[in-house]
C-alpha cells in the first residue's frame, strides 16, 4: 500500500526524517518496501505553450520546437511527437535540476541550440510514461509562465510503500498506519469527526431517504450489515486537483468525483463503499440475497460471471452474496465488484451509496471461485470494521458534497439493516502469561499503557501484588482488529500487540539450554555416508525435477495411474516422477551438449507412486506411496554395468551389509521393466534352499546394471556413433537399504583375528550358465564356515574346454583357524566339503 506522508499527517503531527519514520514502521511490522520522494526538483519547471514545430534538416527523430513560457519565444529540440502547436507542456529551462539530479544545460543538436527540455511524466518522476511529453491542456487555469508545481497542485511529499500483513485489515488504510505509528511515537492520534449531513448542502428534495429508496436484506448471514445513503443533485465531473493528486500518490487513477470519493474513503479508512446510479436501479432500491445456482451477472469489467456454484476448494458450498435492484435484477456481487448496469455515468444525478459488512470467509470463497480479486474483496475477506461503516459513509458524503456541485444534497436519514455483526472481543489477559511468553517483566499497568494508544483498552481487575493470580487485565478489543481472537487464543494475540508496540528489538534474548543431546538419526548418518561413497566413486550429486512428462513415466517403466498435479506450472510436466532415471539422463545430455558428458551423476530423492487405496481420513496422511531412493548413472568413458556393480560393492562395504545377493533381472524377485544387463539386489537374511540347498529370505533393495539402450536412445543420450550410450545404473530404495531391521549389518561385536598362518585354496568349477557366480560363492562360504576367512572370484573363463552352456569360475579361498595352524588333513577335509557343496545340485563340477 502506498502511503503519502502528507495524508498520514491528517491524523497525527508526524515530523522528522522520513527514513527514521520508515524504520519505525518496519519495527511495527508495517514493512516499508520503498520510500519515494515526490515533487522534489520540480521547482524550476514551468508551463510553456507550443508556438511552432519545425523539422530539422538531416534529423528524423528530433524536431525544433518554439515555446513561450511567458517571456517570449524559447527554442528547444525535442524527440517526442505527441503534441501540437497550442498545447501546454512542462518546460525545464536551462539551469533547472530535475528529480534524480539531472541538470539541464544548453545543448546543440544537429546544428540547433536547445535552450531547455520539454519533460515527460517519467522525467519528472510523476508517472511511468516516458514515451511522450506531458500535455497539460486540461489542467485547470494552467497558463504559460506558471510554475508547474502550482498549476498541478504538487507539494513535495514522501510516499511509503508498505507491505501490510494479511491479518491487519485495519492497517491497510492511511488512518490505520497513522494509528500504529502515532502510538509508537507517543503522538496524539485523531480521526477528524465528519458529519455527512451538516457538511452537505441543504436538502432541496425535502424527502427523507425512505422516500427515495428502499433496501431489503434477505440473507443476513452473508451480509450482516448493510447501510444506504442517498445523495441527490450530483453533478458528475472531474475531482479537484488535491484529491486526484492524493489518489495518484496512493497509486489509483482518478475517474470522476463520485468514484474518486469512494476510492478515497477506502484508502483513508479501509472501508470499501459502492455508489450506484439510483435512477438506473430497477424499482429504485436494492435487495440483498444469496445467488441462485447458475445465476449470471455482467460485472463492471464487462465479464459475465456465473454464480452460486460450488468451487473446487474444500468445504466450498458455492455461496455468493448478490446485490439486486428492487426488481430482483443482479446489480453487483456483494463485496467483490459492482455490475455494469448501475455504474455511475456522466449523466448520473442521484447516487445511492452502499456501505456494508460482508462475512469475510464468504467473500474469500467468492473471490477465489471467480478468480476475481478486487481492492474491495481483498479488504472484506480480511475483515472490515462493522462499526466503521457510519464514519466511512459520512466521509463519502462530505467529500461528494465538496466535489459534486452546489446542488448536491444528502438526503436525511440512513437505511441501516443490521444483523449479527462481530462485537468487541473482551478477554482476560494475565500479566504473568505476557511475561512467560515474552521473557519480560512488565507490570499490568505497563501492559495497559502499551495497548491503550492502539485502541485496545485494558483495565486491571486485580493488582500485581495480590498473589499468584495477580495482574489480570480485562481487555476490550475494538471491532477494527478482527485478527485478535477471543479467549483463550486471543491472549497470545494481545501479547503480540504488547511486544509490537514495545518494540521487538528491545525484548530480551537468551540461548535456551536443555539436557537432551542434539543428533542425527542413524538413518540420516548412513544416508550421508552413502552419498560420500558415491562422491568417492567420482559421481556428483544432481538435483533433477520432481515434475515429469507422460513420456518420462513410460521411460521409467511404470504403468499408470500416476500422481498428477491438478494445476501444474508447465502443462506437459504434470506428473510426479516414479523414477529419477529420466531426470538424470537429461542432466547427462545437458552436460554432453556442453562437451562435458563423460560424467557420473547421482541423486538421492523421493519418487512417487499412486497409492493402492488413498486414506479416507484427511488427518491420516501421508496419502501417497513415497520412497526415498538413490539413483546413480555412470556415463564416464568406458562405464557400463560393471561400474555400477563396483559401486554397489563399495556401498555394501561402507554400510557393512551383512549379506546380500544379486539376482538376474526378470528373476523371481525383480520387476525391472526394460531390464538390460541388470540384476536385482537383495539383502539376504535367512537363506532358503537354492540350487545348493541353502535357505534364504531376500529383501529387495533395488537394481544394479546398465540402462536399457532403448530408453537411453529414446531420451536422446547418443554417443558419437549415433547409437545409445552405455550407462551404468544403480537404483536403490534407501528407505529399505538403510533400515537396519530389514537389512542387517555385520555384527557390532568384534571378531578376534587369528595369530596362526592361513592357507589359500584355489578352486575352479565349470558352472552352468543359469547359476550365478554369487550362488557358488555363497555355497562356498557356507561350507567353509568360520574357518573360511575370505572367498574371492578371481577368474572367469568361457570356451570349448569348459563346454557348451557352462563357464569356468575360479575362486580363491583363504582358510585359517583361530586357535591353531590348519593341518593338511583339516585342509583336505575343508576342500572336499566345499567342492561337495558346489557340486551338490549337479549344475557345477570341479575342473
Amino acid at each position: 500500500m502506498r502511503v503519502p506522508l502528507s495524508w498520514l499527517r491528517d491524523f497525527a503531527p508526524f515530523d522528522g526524517d522520513p527514513a527514521g519514520l520508515g524504520a519505525t514502521l518496519d519495527d511495527l511490522g508495517l514493512v516499508v518496501e520503498e520510500i519515494q520522494r515526490v515533487g522534489e526538483g520540480l521547482g524550476d519547471v514551468v508551463i510553456a505553450r507550443v508556438d511552432e514545430i519545425a523539422l530539422i534538416t538531416g534529423a528524423d527523430k528530433i524536431r525544433r520546437i518554439v515555446v513561450d513560457a511567458g517571456d517570449g519565444p524559447i527554442e528547444v529540440v525535442c524527440g517526442a511527437w505527441n503534441f501540437e502547436v497550442g498545447d501546454l507542456v512542462p518546460l525545464a529551462p536551462v539551469g533547472a535540476v530535475l528529480p534524480g539530479g539531472f541538470a539541464i544545460g544548453r545543448r546543440k543538436m544537429k546544428g540547433v541550440v536547445s535552450n531547455g527540455m520539454l519533460c515527460s511524466g517519467r522525467e519528472l518522476e510523476l508517472t511511468d510514461d516516458g514515451e511522450g511529453i506531458m500535455v497539460l491542456n486540461r489542467v485547470e487555469d494552467a497558463h504559460p509562465g506558471q510554475r508547474f508545481t502550482e498549476a498541478m497542485g504538487i507539494e513535495t511529499d514522501v510516499v511509503f510503500d508498505i507491505a501490510v500483513e494479511a491479518n491487519r485489515p485495519d492497517a491497510w488504510s492511511i488512518a490505520g498506519v497513522a494509528r500504529d505509528l502515532a502510538a509508537r511515537l507517543g503522538l496524539p492520534f485523531t480521526i477528524p469527526v465528519v458529519d455527512g449531513r451538516a457538511s452537505a448542502g441543504v436538502g432541496d428534495e425535502g424527502g427523507s431517504i425512505e422516500a427515495l429508496t428502499s433496501v431489503r436484506v434477505d440473507d443476513a448471514e452473508l451480509c450482516p450489515r448493510f447501510t444506504a445513503r442517498v445523495i441527490t443533485g450530483v453533478v458528475v465531473g472531474p475531482s479537484p486537483k488535491w484529491l486526484a493528486h492524493r489518489l495518484s500518490l496512493a497509486g489509483m487513477r482518478s475517474i470522476n468525483n463520485v468514484v474518486d470519493a469512494s476510492n478515497y474513503v477506502m484508502l483513508e479508512l479501509g472501508q470499501p463503499t459502492h455508489p450506484y446510479d439510483l435512477d438506473r436501479l430497477g424499482g429504485g432500491g436494492l435487495v440483498i440475497r444469496r445467488a441462485a445456482q447458475g445465476e449470471t451477472i455482467i460485472t463492471l469489467d464487462g465479464v459475465v460471471r456465473v454464480l452460486g456454484r460450488p468451487g473446487p476448494g474444500l468445504d466450498d458450498t458455492g455461496e455468493d452474496c448478490l446485490i439486486c435492484d428492487a426488481e430482483g435484477t443482479p446489480v453487483g456481487i456483494g463485496g467483490v465488484m459492482g455490475g455494469a448496469s448501475s455504474e455511475i455515468g456522466a449523466d448520473t444525478t442521484r447516487v445511492l451509496l452502499e456501505t456494508a459488512y460482508f462475512v469475510p470467509m464468504a467473500i474469500a470463497r467468492t473471490s477465489k471461485r471467480l478468480a476475481l480479486r478486487t481492492e474491495a474483496s481483498a479488504r472484506y475477506e480480511r475483515g472490515c470494521d462493522p462499526e466503521g461503516i457510519d464514519r466511512a459513509a459520512d466521509r463519502f458524503c462530505e467529500l461528494l458534497a465538496m466535489t459534486a456541485g452546489s446542488t448536491a444534497s444528502v438526503a436525511s436519514g440512513t437505511i441501516d439493516i443490521r444483523g449479527d455483526v462481530p462485537t468487541p472481543v473482551k478477554l482476560a489477559v494475565r500479566a504473568s502469561r505476557v511475561n512467560d511468553l515474552l521473557g519480560t517483566g512488565f507490570t499490568a499497568s505497563q501492559i495497559a499503557a502499551l495497548l491503550d494508544p492502539i485502541g485496545i483498552t485494558a483495565e486491571e481487575v486485580r493488582a500485581d501484588d495480590e498473589g499468584p493470580d495477580a495482574g489480570v487485565l480485562q481487555v476490550t478489543v475494538p471491532t477494527f482488529r478482527p485478527d485478535i481472537r477471543p479467549a483463550p487464543m486471543g491472549e497470545s494475540d494481545i501479547i503480540e500487540e504488547v511486544a509490537r508496540t514495545y518494540g521487538y528489538s528491545r525484548l530480551p534474548r537468551r540461548m535456551p539450554a536443555w539436557p537432551q543431546p542434539g543428533r542425527l538419526t542413524v538413518y540420516q548418518r548412513d544416508r550421508r555416508r552413502l552419498k560420500e561413497v558415491l562422491c568417492g566413486l567420482g559421481a556428483s550429486e544432481a538435483w533433477t525435477s520432481t515434475f515429469v512428462t507422460d513420456f518420462d513415466q513410460t521411460m521409467s517403466g511404470v504403468d499408470p495411474p500416476y500422481i498428477e498435479v491438478t494445476n501444474p506450472l508447465v502443462e506437459s510436466e504434470r506428473y510426479l516422477r516414479t523414477s529419477m532415471v529420466p531426470g538424470l539422463v537429461r542432466a547427462v545430455i545437458y552436460n554432453s551438449e556442453r562437451r562435458q558428458g563423460d560424467i557420473r551423476l547421482f541423486e538421492v530423492g523421493t519418487v512417487f507412486h499412486y497409492p493402492e487405496s488413498p486414506p479416507v481420513d484427511p488427518e491420516d496422511g501421508p496419502p501417497a506411496d513415497m520412497s526415498e531412493r538413490l539413483c546413480a548413472v555412470f556415463c564416464a568413458e568406458g562405464d557400463d554395468a560393471w561400474t555400477a556393480v563396483a559401486a554397489w560393492h563399495a556401498i555394501a562395504e561402507a554400510l557393512a551389509i551383512a549379506d546380500w545377493s544379486m539376482l538376474a533381472a526378470g528373476g523371481p524377485t525383480t520387476a525391472v521393466l526394460h531390464a538390460y544387463r541388470s540384476a536385482g539386489l537383495s539383502s539376504v537374511v535367512e537363506t532358503p534352499p537354492d540350487e545348493f540347498g541353502i535357505t534364504w529370505k531376500p529383501t529387495q533393495l533395488g537394481v544394479v546394471g546398465e540402462l536399457d539402450p532403448y530408453i537411453v536412445g529414446s531420451l536422446g543420450l547418443l554417443g558419437r556413433d549415433g547409437r545409445a550410450r552405455r550407462v551404468g545404473w544403480l537404483d536403490l530404495d534407501i528407505g529399505i537399504l538403510l533400515d537396519r531391521d530389514s537389512v542387517p549389518r555385520k555384527p557390532e561385536v568384534s571378531r578376534p583375528i587369528s595369530r596362526f598362518p592361513s592357507s589359500d585354496l584355489d578352486l575352479a568349477f565349470a558352472v552352468d550358465n543359469d547359476i550365478p557366480a554369487g550362488g557358488v560363492e555363497r555355497a562356498l562360504r557356507r561350507a567353509g564356515g568360520d574357518r573360511l576367512e575370505s572367498v574371492e572370484l578371481f577368474d572367469v573363463f568361457r570356451g570349448d574346454v569348459v563346454g557348451e552352456g557352462r563357464r569356468s569360475l575360479a575362486f580363491r579361498l583363504r582358510l585359517c583357524s583361530i586357535d591353531h595352524t590348519l593341518n593338511d588333513e583339516e585342509l583336505a577335509e575343508l576342500r572336499s566339503r566345499c567342492i561337495a557343496a558346489v557340486e551338490k545340485g549337479g549344475k557345477a563340477a570341479l575342473r
Binding site: 542434539g518 560420500e532 567420482g538 488427518e619
Partner: protein, 354 residues
C-alpha cells in the same frame, strides 16, 4: 498389356514374402522385391501410360491401394523384427553380474561433489545439532490438514494466498497437495510426541517444498526449507531470539547478527520475520540489501495456541517456538549465486565448484 494383371495375387504374394522375413537384412531385401523399381508393382505402374484414360485411372487407383497396403505390411514387419532383435540382443547380452572380479573396474580419477544444497543442508543441520536439536523429516505429499488445517489455516483463509499450492489428483479436490513449507513436519512431530509421551521437542526439519511460482533468479517452484521447533517448559520469545542469534553467528560468521520484526504467520503468535546482517556489505548498505544493511532470511514466532490445540498439547504447561527459512537462499547468500536456477541446471562445472 495383359488385362489379367492380378493385383490381389500380387498383394498376397508380397504378404507371404514379408511375413517370411526374419531379419532386418531380410526385410530390406523383401521390401525391394515387392515394392522396389523392379517389382511387379512398379512394372504395372510403368505400363499404365499405355492405357486408355478411363482404364488408367481405375487401375492407377487399384495400384495405389496395393502399394499402400504393401508399404504398411513392410513397416509393421520391420518394427516386429526390430523388437524381436532387441529382445534377442537383450537375452544374448545378458550377463551374470555376480561374476564381478574386484579390481577390474577402472576407478574414477576425480572425486565427485555433493550438491551445494546438500552441503548447505548438512552444514545447517550440523550447526543445529551442535545447539541441541535433533533432525526430523516428513513426506513431500501432505493432506490439507497437515499443511494448512492443523497450522491454523482453515480452507478459504486469506492467509492461504501466502502459499501458491500445487494440488494433486488424490482424494477429493484440493484435499492432497505438495507441501508448501516444512511446517507440517511440526504437526507430525507434536502428534507423535503426544501419543508417545515424547515431549519436550527440540528439532529441526529440513526438506523439499513446492510452491506454484514461476522460476526466476530468486525463486524456484521446488525448493528447500529448514524448520525448527522447540516445545518445552518455560520457553519464551527471548529463547527464540537467542536461538536465532546463536545460529546466525555460528553459521554465517561472528560479524553477522540477527534482528526480529513483527510479521504475520497463522501458526505463530507473536510472529516475527528475522533478518540477518547483509553478508555482502556486512551491514554497511549495498544494492543487495537495498541499502538497509539487513537481509530478510525467514519467519519465526511462538507456537500459536490454536496449533497446540490441534495436536492436543496443553499451552499452559508447554510453550514453544518455531522458525523456518530457505536452505537454497542460504546457499545463494553465502556463495553469492546471482541466479537461483543454477541450482537445478546440473551443469557439472557448477556442481564441481563446491
Amino acid at each position: 498389356m495383359s488385362t489379367a494383371l492380378d493385383i490381389d495375387g500380387l498383394v498376397k504374394n508380397a504378404e507371404v514374402a514379408i511375413s517370411a522375413a526374419r531379419t532386418t537384412e531380410a526385410i530390406r531385401q523383401v521390401a525391394t522385391e515387392v515394392g522396389g523399381k523392379r517389382s511387379p508393382l512398379a512394372e504395372a505402374h510403368r505400363a499404365l501410360g499405355a492405357l486408355e484414360p478411363e482404364a488408367r485411372k481405375e487401375l492407377g487407383r487399384l495400384l495405389h491401394e496395393a502399394r499402400t497396403t504393401i508399404d504398411a505390411l513392410v513397416e509393421r514387419r520391420r518394427t516386429e523384427i526390430r523388437f524381436a532383435e532387441m529382445q534377442a540382443t537383450m537375452e544374448s547380452d545378458r550377463i551374470d553380474l555376480s561374476e564381478f572380479i574386484p579390481g577390474t573396474v577402472r576407478s574414477s580419477p576425480t572425486r565427485g561433489h555433493l550438491h551445494l544444497v546438500s552441503q548447505t543442508r548438512d552444514a545447517l543441520e550440523d550447526v543445529f545439532v551442535g545447539m541441541g536439536f535433533e533432525v526430523a523429516e516428513g513426506p513431500d505429499i501432505e493432506t490439507d490438514w497437515f499443511n494448512f488445517g492443523a497450522l491454523n489455516i482453515p480452507p478459504a483463509h486469506p492467509a492461504r494466498g501466502m502459499w501458491d499450492t500445487f494440488y494433486l489428483n488424490l482424494g477429493t479436490p484440493e484435499s492432497t497437495l505438495l507441501r508448501t513449507h516444512t511446517s507440517p513436519v511440526q504437526i507430525h512431530l507434536m502428534e507423535a510426541a503426544v501419543v508417545n509421551g515424547g515431549l519436550p521437542i527440540h528439532a529441526v526439519m529440513p526438506g523439499r517444498c513446492y510452491r506454484r511460482d514461476t522460476p526466476d533468479a530468486r525463486h524456484l517452484p521446488v525448493f528447500h526449507q529448514i524448520e525448527g521447533l522447540v516445545v518445552d517448559k518455560g520457553i519464551t520469545f527471548a529463547d527464540l531470539a537467542g536461538t536465532i542469534e546463536v545460529f546466525t553467528t555460528a553459521y554465517f560468521g561472528s560479524d553477522i547478527h540477527s534482528r526480529l520484526r513483527p510479521a504475520y504467520f497463522p501458526f505463530t503468535e507473536p510472529s516475527a520475520e528475522f533478518e540477518v546482517t547483509c553478508t555482502i556489505c556486512h551491514g554497511d548498505g549495498c544494492r543487495t540489501c537495498s541499502q538497509t544493511g539487513w537481509i530478510e532470511l525467514g519467519g519465526c514466532g511462538m507456537v500459536d495456541p490454536a496449533v497446540f490445540d490441534a495436536v492436543g498439547i496443553d499451552p499452559d504447561q508447554w510453550t514453544g517456538f518455531a522458525f523456518g527459512f530457505g536452505i537454497d537462499r542460504c546457499a545463494q547468500m553465502r556463495h553469492q549465486i546471482a541466479d537461483m536456477r543454477a541450482l537445478n541446471e546440473n551443469d557439472i562445472r557448477f556442481l564441481r565448484q563446491f
